[in-house]
Symmetry: C2
Subunit: 183 residues, 2 copies
Amino acid sequence: MSNDNYDEGMSLRMALLGLLTVSGPSSGYDLTKLFERSVNHVWQARHSQIYPELNKMAAGGLVVIEEEGPRGRKTYAVTEEGSRLLREWLLSAGPSRSIRDELALRAFLLPTLEPEEAVIALRDAARICEAKLAELEEIWRTKTQAGKGNFGRYALDLGMRQTRMFRDWARETAEEIERSIRS
Amino acid sequence: MSNDNYDEGMSLRMALLGLLTVSGPSSGYDLTKLFERSVNHVWQARHSQIYPELNKMAAGGLVVIEEEGPRGRKTYAVTEEGSRLLREWLLSAGPSRSIRDELALRAFLLPTLEPEEAVIALRDAARICEAKLAELEEIWRTKTQAGKGNFGRYALDLGMRQTRMFRDWARETAEEIERSIRS
DNA sequence: CTGATCATGTAATATGTTACATGATTGA
DNA sequence: TCAATCATGTAACATATTACATGATCAG
């Protein structure tokens, strides 16, 4: 039951399987923090969503409780079946774009503002990106020093590219609008 | 009640206010189609979500039923209050990135595959981007020809940049993995 | 012994998808 | 007349956020 032929919402499940695959057996608590530090740039999930999902996954045989630790800590590990499911999902491409990007939506609605105000909002956005980028670059430095493998590195690279791209768009669009104000 | 101090989920509301602002008074049916043809690239909503939301918005005084037409058709228009709310939302920046991007998530999880398979999936992703890019560029051409104003144009530009960025990332990452396979 | 962090969960509510349901109008 | 499209809605379910709730362990 739950989600077997319901392809949406598979994402959280896959994200968890992926994190478990790479980081090895982990608790829901670990996974919550891993989520925040890694996948978070493209997908969010809180502990209140992660814990029940792990229970469902365990019930479905995608993961097993490998060990029980100190304060009720449960360490999960991916099973053969979980591994197979993740692999299949990753290889089944499909041009299915399920995107929800609030920042892009804001961008989309920007032209409903007066040009002067749109410029202010765009400069704001660019400034936020700049800060974000500095943060990501700092992580990049610490990450490439320690030989922590490539997981997260590709995604981090993607995150930095994305942030740069958005910053540039915001700047250039602001300039374009300013030009059109003056003319 | 409903969502007043609940900042998530404000997005659908804002998208509808934005579309109404730009396209003028429209019905739920119109808005559903407008959604599909425009905002859809960054945010999705079905009619089953749009109709109830419009009713809530009308109850909250953000829109009014301006006219009732042929088959129960109701034409909504933005009120002063709705207009003000949209403007405030757009000007309240905040580094709040609420993103759910399935494609990026897949990318993130790629390193869990065998290198050879990851390369295949990356090439696949790049190919999909290429197709999407061609599609967006076609829209760009028809849009910049007809003087339909700047609505959608900034967002379309952003969409194209995003797609290009992702395609390049996929390609370059594929190449990097291939190099590491050979060594 | 005390505050920070580890660790797991549930409840209430909001958001989003699929499927179901109905009927009017238009154009061929 | 009949198929396509216009037009609105609800019901059941899945997904996600916020807040509530509890207690163990560790470091100073």
